[in-house]
């Protein structure tokens, strides 16, 4: 005996479960997280974020939107503007509340919109990209749900590569030998100068 979840709740649950299975350390609880504009003021406005996932490398603020049947969102620009608007407060809050153990480390922050039965045009996608909002539709979500079922937490790296394209990742820089200017690859794994006899 079971009762189906409403679509909006189901999408949020699926996204939360995906982030949990990907191994993020900190996650939002039931009903999502609330971003408080001014924590000293009890009357300060709060912004609800459907799913939040934070670890030592990244912070993700996810919004979930769905319709009962395939439809174009008349206020899509408003939705992405709102999501983009919380970015600054989200970055500052994470920095203060969950500081790094290592100094001089940088946590990458992303705002993601998960959609289900949303009809999106090319211009919508461009607008979202301009506002630094990453879009995932129901097919992408289903793909990552399957991937995480196969690979477990390792699936997060493919997910993160889609969320942070062309982003420099700390510790993965290509280093060159100062002496012979060769790139450190499989042959040159030792610190500078490289181990080649001709170097």
């Amino acid at each position: 005996m079971f009762k189906d979840k409403p679509r909006s709740v189901l999408l949020e649950s699926r996204v939360w479960t995906l982030l949990y299975q990907m191994g993020f350390d900190l996650l939002s609880g039931k009903g999502g997280a609330q971003l408080v504009a001014d924590p000293r003021d009890t009357q300060s406005p709060k912004t609800q974020i459907d799913c939040v996932a934070i670890d030592s490398e990244v912070g993700l603020a996810c919004e979930c939107k769905t319709f009962l049947e395939p439809k174009k969102d008349p206020d899509f620009l408003g939705t992405i503007s709102r999501l983009s608007g919380i970015r600054k407060g989200f970055v500052q809050s994470i920095k203060k509340q969950f500081p790094f153990e290592k100094e001089n480390s940088k946590r990458h922050i992303a705002t993601i919109l998960f959609t289900w039965d949303f009809l999106l045009s090319e211009s919508d996608a461009k607008r979202a990209a301009a506002q630094n909002v990453v879009l995932f539709d129901e097919q992408a979500l289903e793909y990552y749900r399957k991937l995480v079922a196969h690979l477990g937490p390792a699936a997060r790296y493919q997910f993160l590569s889609e969320v942070f394209p062309s982003t420099q990742i700390e510790g993965l820089e290509i280093k060159t030998c100062r002496h012979c200017e060769r790139k450190q690859g499989k042959l040159f794994v030792t610190p500078f100068p490289c181990a080649r006899s001709t170097c």
């Binding site: 191994g23 900190l26 996650l27 609880g29 997280a33 971003l35 408080v36 709060k46 989200f90 994470i94």
Partner: protein
Amino acid sequence: MIENVQHRDALIGFSRQQSKQIITRIIHTADLEEEQTKDGKLRLVRRVKNGFVCSKTSRGLFC
């Protein structure tokens, strides 16, 4: 400030109180009773009219 963000381990599973509520609901739904065994553990049993005691186990209901 972000409210309602916790460590993953704190968000999974049921609290002691929730577990108790769930068990109580199962007992009521399935019309079962709790009975203490000789070694002090609790087991769920279904009492039937003719006096037999049926024990609810993971493999089914045994009388």
